[in-house]
Each structure stands twice: as structure tokens, then as C-alpha cells.
Amino acid sequence: MKCEDIQLSFAEILSNPENHKIETEHISTCDTCREELTFYKMMQASFQENFDSLSTEESLKNQSRILSKIRKNSFRKIQKYIISAAAVLVLLFGSIFNLKTSDSNDFITDDQWILVNDFYSEIATDINDDAILDYLTQSDDIDNLEELLISIN
């Protein structure tokens, strides 16, 4: 085993020496690795000690800031869902309404439809009228039906 490999694995060796017996044996006999391990341990201690840690008060303050940010974020998420759902509903109803009106636009409006219905129902009731029959039998001009209806009205 190379010294370099052992020196790269100090963290693992120190955290679990039982599983690194070959490495620990090597360290005990290798001056370079022992020296490097000492340096590693001193650095570790330096990292642990030479920084101010947060006071309990500061820590709790920061924690509550995080929580409030998370809650705000969750609220925004819910808001987004509601807005999206509303938008989908508006689009859905809009398209249904548009379909209905565009159907009407394509063919005939509601008012026109009522007029057409009336027109045909008038024909249906009046078609049996003797006067019309007489008129029709007397005249070959079937195109004058409209004029006939106007005259009946």
C-alpha cells in the first residue's frame, strides 16, 4: 500500500481504525505517514477550535428565520396552485362559452334561431290553410312562398 493512499484516507482510518488494520500497522512503522497523521490531527483541532460558533440565541434566531422562509414558501406554493386552478377553470369555462357562441356565430344567433323556428312553425300551421293551398294550386311560382307568408301575416 502506498503512503499517498493512506494519507488520503486518514478520515476513514481515524473514524474506524478496526476496519483499517493494515493501514494502522503501516502508519505505526512509517515515519512519513505518522508525521502526516499528526499534521492532519492538528489541522482538525485547528478547524474545531479557531472559529466562533453561534450563540444559542443567534442559532435559534436563524432557525426561526429559516422556518418563516419555509412557511412563506409553502404559502406561495399553495397560492400558485390556487391561481393555476382558477386559471384552468377560467380557460375551461371560457372555451365552453366560446364554443357555444362560436357555434351560434357559425350558423345562426339565438334570436335568428327563434325567428326561423317561428317561420317554419307558421308554415306548418298555415300550410294546411285552404287559402294557401288554393294560392299554390293556382300559382306555379313556388318562390313566392315568402310573399305569401308575409301576406298571411
Binding site: 478520515a11 476513514e12 466562533d52 442559532s59
Partner: protein, 156 residues
């Protein structure tokens, strides 16, 4: 709501640990607090991707390393100069200890410093460090080796 409660426990348990990792990288209390907030917010948003393969501590540390590393890279010019003289300063009554000073750490690249902190302070495996810092395992090992070599030079 219960997802929030679960996460609140994580915040209580790991807040100080994450803060300490970040503080060792930034050496700035305000930045460390802000970045800690960012890390937990990021973790909360990504919690659905946490499968429990790693421990929450490792998972959060990865996010913290990645976030701080990106932050340091974005602010390369200013951050290193803000190291307080008190950080890593030698104590006269403890001459036998390695006392790192800001000028020692300035000799390291952002990547080298991030790997060093993750390794020496957090005992994070190279694989996790590589994932956190968007680099290869080999590159993380090389960076660690370089960092140690540079610091050793200073102290010998």
C-alpha cells in the same frame, strides 16, 4: 404540515453543524447565517428527492458544500480578503498546535479549501465531496493532496 414539522426537526438537529461547515468556508458570520438559511430552504424544496441512501447529515452537508462553493466562486475577489485576523490565529499559550492564518488559506483555491474543510472538518468521503462540488473523485483527491502540500510548506 407534517412535512414541515419533520423538517423543523432537521433544522433543530443540523442547523449548527451546517452553519459551522459554511462558516469554516466563508469565515464570515453574516454570510454563514444567510447561506445556512439558503441551504435549508433548498433542502426543503428538494426533500422529495431525498431517498435516505445517505444520512440527512451527509445530504445536508453536500448541499451546504455545493451552495457555499458556488457562492465563493461567485465572490472570488472579495471573500478571501474578508478573513478576520481572529480566525485561525495563533494562540501564544498553545504553540504546539497548527495555527492556520488567513494568509495560509489564501494560498488555496476555492476547490482546495472546500475539499479540505469537507475532509478534515466533516470527514466526508471523496465520493460525496465530488458530487457536492461537481467534480470527479480523483479531482477531489488531487485538490486535497495539493491543499495539504501547500499548508505543509507553510508550517515546515
Amino acid at each position: 404540515m407534517s412535512q414541515e414539522n419533520d423538517f423543523e426537526q432537521w433544522i433543530q438537529k443540523y442547523h449548527d453543524m451546517i452553519y459551522n461547515v459554511i462558516y469554516r468556508l466563508t469565515a464570515n458570520k453574516d454570510d454563514a447565517q444567510d447561506l445556512t438559511q439558503d441551504v435549508f430552504l433548498k433542502a426543503f424544496k428538494k426533500k422529495s428527492t431525498f431517498r435516505g441512501e445517505a444520512s440527512p447529515k451527509t445530504w445536508l452537508t453536500r448541499i451546504a458544500l455545493n451552495h457555499t462553493y458556488n457562492f465563493l466562486n461567485r465572490n472570488k475577489t472579495s471573500r478571501w480578503n474578508e478573513f478576520s485576523e481572529n480566525n485561525f490565529q495563533s494562540k501564544d499559550d498553545e504553540p504546539e498546535k497548527v495555527q492556520l492564518k488567513d494568509e495560509h488559506l489564501k494560498t488555496l483555491s476555492t476547490l482546495e479549501k472546500a475539499v479540505l474543510v469537507a475532509r478534515v472538518y466533516q470527514d466526508l468521503p471523496y465520493k460525496d465531496i465530488a458530487i457536492s462540488l461537481n467534480t470527479s473523485e480523483n479531482s477531489a483527491k488531487v485538490s486535497y493532496h495539493k491543499a495539504i502540500k501547500k499548508l505543509r510548506k507553510v508550517f515546515t
